[in-house]
Symmetry: C2
């Protein structure tokens, strides 16, 4: 995370590719009165993005200060090289989720010193300009990956872009980025798919025993396979390196199930330590919380009443999850609050008629 304040984007920003990300960038920049020009291989996408208020159609003689390449991954390298050649003064960036291979291509292009890659860690289950939102990047990490020859002003311009759209710029080189996303995104995706794939073996009523842990670990397995084929293929060597270490641990666990308790404990403890490293609220290390469970009837207005009663007790909610129980017209809200205030929240809610417990 960086403490850089947003600088000026006082020239035009040209967004190439009016999909979810490109159009969202346009919408967010327009909120700051930045001049945004839009182009897309499909003229209909430009029309839609313009109608959403994401900017104006690009003219034939644009002279952008910054070019944001937001085209599908397969086309990015060519479009970036073209942009660097065509606009010899402009800074160029992109938004794809794997950075090293692109950087290697750019390093061989004239103008590589005006390029810094980018990767907003934001997405949606939807795509296209109609799904775009000025708030898509709000508070989300935006990796900015300068190359070996990137000029400081080019890096600044891409950091400014991230800050303008409300994201948190995180500067790292392309190779670091790709190892990082292998670890925090690509491998967890594979692990979720591997876990969920086994559910196809379930017999009879076995899945009736499913609980929140299974739902959490397999949620992202529902993601689009084609998209992930592309991402995993592009970051294959970093993903493979992590998966090979996973396989080593998995072999240890399988072996340990025949009796070597120490090896099993080593892997479980390693997982505990690893999970504690994930940054939590406000970018701090994950803090422990008190979890309060409250029963909530499954009808409009009940959660509202619960939140009102929680607010009146003066407790701030760190996190909230709602699970619908199996076969009952009642849900279970899990309210996370600061350590030490769980019991008083239970008391406050119970006195207001809620069924609450820890």
């Amino acid at each position: 995370m960086t403490a850089v304040a947003p600088g000026a984007l006082d020239g035009a920003v040209l967004v190439i590719g009016c999909g979810l990300i490109g159009t969202s960038v346009g919408l967010a920049l327009r909120d700051h009165q930045v001049d945004v020009a839009l182009v897309d291989a499909l003229p209909g996408n430009v029309e839609m993005a313009v109608s959403r208020g994401a900017g104006r159609p690009a003219s034939d003689d644009e002279q952008p200060q910054l070019v944001v390449v937001a085209v599908p991954p397969a086309a990015v390298a060519d479009v970036v090289a073209d942009a660097l050649a065509r606009w010899s003064e402009a800074v160029v960036t992109d938004v794809t989720s794997v950075k090293s291979s692109l950087q290697r291509r750019v390093d061989q292009s004239p103008g590589a010193d005006r390029f810094a890659g980018g990767h907003p860690m934001a997405g949606s289950e939807r795509s296209g300009p109609m799904a775009a939102s000025a708030q898509l990047f709000e508070g989300r990490p935006w990796a900015v990956t300068p190359g070996p020859s990137t000029r400081p002003d080019a890096l600044d311009a891409v950091v400014d872009l991230a800050l303008h759209v409300g994201a948190v710029p995180i500067i790292m080189d392309a190779a670091d980025h790709d190892r990082a996303v292998a670890l925090v995104s690509h491998v967890p995706q594979v692990m979720s798919s591997l876990t969920a794939a086994r559910l196809n073996d379930a017999e009879g009523n076995h899945l009736a025993l499913s609980g929140a842990g299974l739902r959490d670990t397999t949620r992202i397995a529902a993601s689009d396979s084609a998209l992930w084929m592309d991402i995993l293929g592009t970051n294959a060597s970093d993903v493979k390196a992590v998966l090979e270490r996973v396989r080593d641990d998995l072999d240890r666990v399988i072996g340990a199930l025949d009796g070597d308790a120490d090896e099993l404990q080593r892997v479980l403890e390693s997982g505990r330590r690893g999970s504690a490293l994930i940054p939590g609220k406000h970018g701090s290390q994950a803090a422990s919380v008190d979890v309060v469970h409250v029963q909530v009837a499954d009808r409009p207005g009940e959660l509202s009443r619960l939140m009102a009663d929680t607010g009146e007790s003066g407790v701030n909610i760190e996190d909230l999850r709602l699970d619908h129980d199996l076969g009952r017209p009642v849900g279970l809200a899990e309210i996370s609050v600061a350590v030490g205030v769980g019991d008083s929240l239970v008391e406050a809610l119970t006195s207001r008629g809620w069924t609450a417990y820890r």
Copy 2:
């Protein structure tokens, strides 16, 4: 799931072991005026459970109708055998999370026809009688596992116990149960630990790119290692069988990263299909939902206002998650609603001043 209505538990229920589960069973049964007698190796635990209202201390000449053995897993088999021998008219059940090995022990005991195992799929990050709650089992699955010689009236008594405490009894034999929990609970736990363990390899600021997917897949990796060592050890062969199939798929993925796209797609698609099999709301197959994102300031009362405005728009919330964004005093609420009403909720919330988008 079964449609059995709760029958009578008109005799005394003896709960052996006044920890979280035993005391919660007592509290829930007392809500239905069932006579509950309590015993524990530690007299202090009985005192605490009695003070919570979970029942009365057992007398020396109890003649229970039903004995619920809720002692630590290592002691269960002996305590069940003792109970079957000592109370020759009583039905005996337990609450441990692995059933086959216990059933094999019971099958060699006199009185095996009066035993049916049980496994409430409920827990808490806390333990002991003070953490107990009459609502712990509300709406949760409670596996009931009759043995080969279990009498119908013994099975009925254990099903009645589950119904009385508000759980959803799911009847399966012990071997089925153990294969089911390997799939839906034990293997996801190992996968979560394996994923989280790799985070210990993270360099520098790499974990700053962490997102919701990583937090979901690694949440249960923070669980108590000693508890899981015990569970995985007791269900070793079923867990191992599933993990070996996971390893086959993992090998396929690692191999496919060198270029065999079809194999990679096969595993990802299998994961997608598997994740769709998990029962969702009200025990039905998981339904697709519209997800609406809303920015919520990080202060008491804001969620309350959001829930009130959502309620007024007449929309029922299927699920709700709250994520705090990195480095910002703002959280992002993810509200899941029925397919087709997402856009109108965005409109209703936007008109009330919220920053909402899909």
